[in-house]
């Protein structure tokens, strides 16, 4: 699993590439903690390159949603894989979270244009996991 982070128009776009499950959740949490420390409270979580999600991954996504809510930030998810969407539906998360099929629609929702790539911010974390 790989987590990519970009800054775009005041939003932090966190892209999860690969599998988010009991094995990779620790790395995902590490990234989220760093974002929290940097007071990044407006997030777009891009799950369009996610290939596998288990209940541990779901728990981590709920956790970040709750943290952003309590910090009064905004969080939007990008998800276009019907398999992953079905996992969300089974636990009714699709009714609570704001989900869009692509980045363009997500930016439309939050009312922002495109931005730049922040390559240095997460350079110390690197690509861990599978």
């Amino acid at each position: 699993m790989k987590v990519e982070v970009e800054e775009k128009s005041g939003f932090t776009v966190v892209s999860v590439v690969g599998e988010l499950d009991v094995y990779t959740v620790p790395l995902f949490r590490k990234v989220l903690l760093k974002l929290e420390g940097a007071r990044k409270h407006n997030l777009i979580v891009d799950l369009s390159k996610l290939t596998f999600l288990d209940s541990s991954g779901l728990g981590a996504l709920i956790e970040i949603y709750q943290k952003i809510q309590s910090a009064q930030g905004e969080i939007v998810f990008i998800l276009d894989n019907p398999r992953i969407l079905r996992v969300f539906e089974l636990v009714n998360l699709d009714k609570v979270l704001t989900i869009h099929p692509n980045l363009g629609r997500a930016f439309q929702h939050v009312g922002a244009p495109s931005g730049y790539v922040d390559e240095e911010f997460f350079s110390d974390i690197g690509d861990e996991g599978r």
């Binding site: 779901l58 728990g59 996992v87």
Partner: protein, 153 residues
């Protein structure tokens, strides 16, 4: 007899694994390969997710006396039968099934996923361990969304 379909050969995979986090991944990979090789490519993601949730429960809660997790997968013509068991301490199934998790609960969603993704789901648990039997049928056209390429090999 005229009209009878020839009986398809049953294929089986049996795994007895150490109760470790690493073994869950090993089981998932072996199961994924087994079901894909036997015509369940489209269903493989659901099958392996269900198995991972069951094995995770053993790893996290069962504390089996033999320190093992057991998995038996049988492929029949149009369905997969998945049996997963442990010789652990067991739990009160009724209590867990009755427990309504809030939508935003960060834990305990594995049961919901297993029940939601399977066509049948049976569980027996007691002081000698827990036994899960689940079936997943081959998808019929239109039963599930069609644009599922991202999960295919």
């Amino acid at each position: 007899m005229k009209g009878d379909k020839p009986k398809a050969a049953t294929k089986e995979l049996t795994l007895h694994l150490p109760c470790t986090k690493e073994a869950i991944l090993e089981a998932r990979m072996k199961l994924d390969s087994f079901v894909r090789q036997n015509g369940f490519e489209r269903e493989a993601c659901d099958i392996t997710l269900v198995a991972q949730e069951a094995l995770k429960n053993i790893y996290q809660h069962a504390h089996p006396i033999d320190k093992k997790m057991h998995l038996h997968c049988t492929i029949e013509r149009d369905r997969v039968l998945l049996e997963i068991w442990d010789k652990g301490k067991g739990f009160n199934v009724g209590e867990v099934e009755r427990r309504k998790r809030p939508i935003m609960s960060t834990h305990g969603r594995g049961f919901e996923l297993m029940q939601g993704l399977t066509d049948s789901f049976e569980i027996k648990s007691g002081s000698e361990g827990t036994f899960l039997r689940m079936t997943l049928k081959k998808w019929e056209s239109g039963k599930r969304p069609d644009s599922l390429e991202q999960c295919l090999p």
